[in-house]
Symmetry: C2
Subunit: 454 residues, 2 copies
């Protein structure tokens, strides 16, 4: 009989292929769900391409839309969409975390505890336990978010039903970093409401910061540090990703404050400037919700946003892009090289050379992928370079912001964006694994020879 857990343990390749199978299945299921006329407003007709686009956008929690969500889906449809977002966000978070744990050659005690692989349990039961823990965590965050937002929305909406529908959808959309909205205008109606924005920022960050960070923080707060762990502190991953994550939020906020000083932010009160910049900085990193039309921003700001969307969220989160750790390791590698150091030391740990090479492979592959997509779209679409580049980086970062060209893309353009959302979501690393053969230790070696670089 086929031994699934053993198969998973011994064959890492298949573990990654799980993601593809999961996503193919999830896309088909969500196409069926979202395609049901029962969930549509009256008279809505969705083409195959637009239905596929919407399904992939929802499953990858990107939030780019070729059709207006509020004009396409009815109240029941909003719940169906929220379910798909949930499924996409949590599914990939679980699989991503699980595969990372399996791929790591030496499974550490903390990770072992995380998926409960020991003599008495199998990898499969570990996967189930992990998924349950992630599901519990995310649902708890969404529940609290829904209660807060819905109660508060009673001020905005006429009926409590409408307030709770809006609050529920907003909480799910923010926590899963989906970027979909049923207001019809993202968070622009709340551009002056700092409370709604603050709640959204917290939910967006909790979804995008990475599940291992949430787990470790939870353990820390409960005082449940692993007794076997030599160094009783947060893991290198958590420290690296948290610093990078918040560092990039600060960089994005400050750059928007500077670049838009004489433009969009001109003559605004300081708190208004701060909230516009902070919210947009947070949302470019994966959320895709916005308190303003990005077309109102100047071109330098939009280029900076392209870079922030490209970097994206933390690994093992609901977010896409090259991921924060990848970016951090690149910066550390460059810095240490420029300082003449032979190893990368950070937070009293050393980064593995293999991880350094992996990071660089992810970054350069992503750059080439996005550049190729831009060239193709420049051929097939009639738009200028900036809106096209913005769309590409938004799709790859599964951010979902747009300068407004999504619905007007040609079919080829839509399929390019669909592909980018898919790759951005499963990650370049997993994407390369799909085409990867079995890792083989070399049986023979050629002499090494150095070449002239750069």
């Amino acid at each position: 009989m086929f031994n699934f857990p053993k198969f998973l343990k011994t064959n890492y390749l298949s573990a990654v292929q799980l993601i593809v199978v999961f996503y193919a299945a999830a896309t088909i299921i969500s196409m069926i769900i979202l395609g049901l006329p029962f969930f549509h407003d009256e008279g809505v007709e969705l083409s195959f391409t637009n239905l596929l686009f919407t399904a992939v956008s929802a499953i990858s929690v990107t939030g780019l839309t070729v059709v207006s969500t509020v004009d396409t889906f009815n109240a029941a449809g909003a719940f169906a969409l929220a379910f798909v977002l949930q499924f996409g966000g949590i599914g990939i978070m679980t699989l991503g975390t699980f595969i990372w744990i399996l791929l790591g050659k030496r499974i550490g005690l903390r990770e072992r505890q995380l998926i409960q692989i020991d003599q008495n349990r199998t990898a499969l039961s570990g996967l189930v336990r992990l998924m349950v823990r992630i599901l519990k965590t995310i649902l708890l965050i969404e529940l609290v978010g829904t209660i807060i937002l819905s109660t508060y929305f009673l001020n905005y909406f006429d009926t409590w039903q409408e307030a709770w529908l809006q609050g529920f959808f907003a909480a799910v959309s923010a926590t899963t970093n989906a970027g979909f909205d049923i207001t019809g205008a993202s968070l622009i109606p709340f551009a002056d409401d700092y409370f709604v924005q603050s709640v959204n920022i917290v939910l967006l960050i909790l979804g995008a910061i990475g599940f291992p960070v949430l787990i470790e923080t939870q353990d820390f707060l409960k005082g449940e540090w692993d007794a076997d762990r030599a160094n009783n502190s947060f893991s290198l991953f958590t420290q690296l990703t948290v610093i990078t994550f918040f560092g990039l939020i600060v960089v994005g906020t400050v750059l928007m404050l500077i670049l838009e000083q004489d433009a969009f932010l001109d003559d605004m009160a300081w708190h208004k400037q701060l909230f516009y910049s902070l919210f947009q900085s947070v949302t470019t990193r994966n959320g895709g919700l916005a308190t303003m039309d990005v077309n109102e921003l100047t071109e330098p700001t939009l280029i900076v946003f392209c870079m922030l969307m490209f970097i994206g969220a933390s690994p093992s989160s609901v977010g896409g892009g090259i991921r924060t750790t990848t970016f951090a390791i690149m910066l550390l590698a460059i810095y240490n090289f420029a300082r003449g150091r032979s190893s990368i030391k950070v937070f009293r740990r050393e980064v593995d050379t293999e991880d350094v090479i992996r990071s660089f492979i992810v970054i350069t592959t992503a750059v080439m992928l996005c550049m190729t997509a831009i060239v193709i779209l420049m051929v097939t679409e009639p738009f200028p370079l900036l809106p096209v580049a913005f769309e590409v980086f938004s799709a790859f970062g599964t951010t979902g912001l747009s300068m407004g060209i999504t619905a007007d893309l040609s079919p080829i353009g839509k399929y390019v964006i669909i592909f980018l959302m898919f790759v951005g979501r499963i990650g370049i690393f997993s994407f390369l694994f799909i085409v990867r053969g079995k890792v083989t230790r070399d049986k023979y070696h050629f002499p090494k020879e150095k070449v002239i670089i750069g």
Copy 2:
């Protein structure tokens, strides 16, 4: 007494700093030369910024111009400019090759022979010998080029003096990949003259293919293979750079043929299409001469050209950019990773892991540098994204093509471009070395810890 050769041998850092000292001195000298009113047409007034820009553009053999060369310099000035180009092209080629040899930890027999470091000679005499050999090679190429072009130009120009001045300048500008012209319109007057274009293509390639390739080919043709060399063949560097160099020329040609089929190349004879595409593909990689106005091209082609300019020429050549070997190693690393191989084997050799990391560091630093420059220029200049990006990649690749905004740049914009030409010319690798401390082997280690990537 200060022992210069020993200092060079023991302190690699200083060997790289030589480049900076060389370039600072060379820039000042060429500013003085090019600033002499004796070399100017009557009534010409050069501002300090424009003189510095012209000097750096000439010394880095980029060819971007803020003033028209033909309207600024007289015949004597053309010779002076040719001298500066010569100096810039050969100087960096020599230093680049020399420093690479010193930096290589184990100096191979072939390299040892190249700079003649043995018991009886010092590094300094090796440097001098190397420079003499490079000088001889380049001058020979230029001499042959001048004779061919000047003789042929008798058909184009009224006097033999004019024909020889044009032929001499064209040969020097092409061989050093300078991209300067004294026709006032680059090679556009020769857009239908395949002979002139072919000669230029050969000269451009000989200048940009890298000095070690020229030396090895020379040795090979003379039958002077090093008897001590275990594997009697071309070095890994030569094989890698030659394949990449010509591969990229083919890619550029084919892409322009495809992308401009219904645009610029529409309704042209096949040979005309081929020559337009081939010449532009060759020139983007470093030459900067052009047989057409790049503004006539469509945006996808211009974006592809940006990428080709960014990659640039071979190391230890007159060219800039990230260099062909860097790009090749990146592709090999991604391919081998995707195939699940633990080492990079190519041409019966293995690439050193350190070289892989160096390549990625060069590429990512270059991308960040160019993106930062683009954001700054988008703030300071009134032009759209594409012309700005084109200018930035052209400067970094020391290519010298432009969509026509160079002369209209603000002073800040000009200094950004000056900086990029400088860094592009000395190379990111040397650039990082400038800020680099002494390389230290680690005295202590922290435990390694893996993190989640991409």
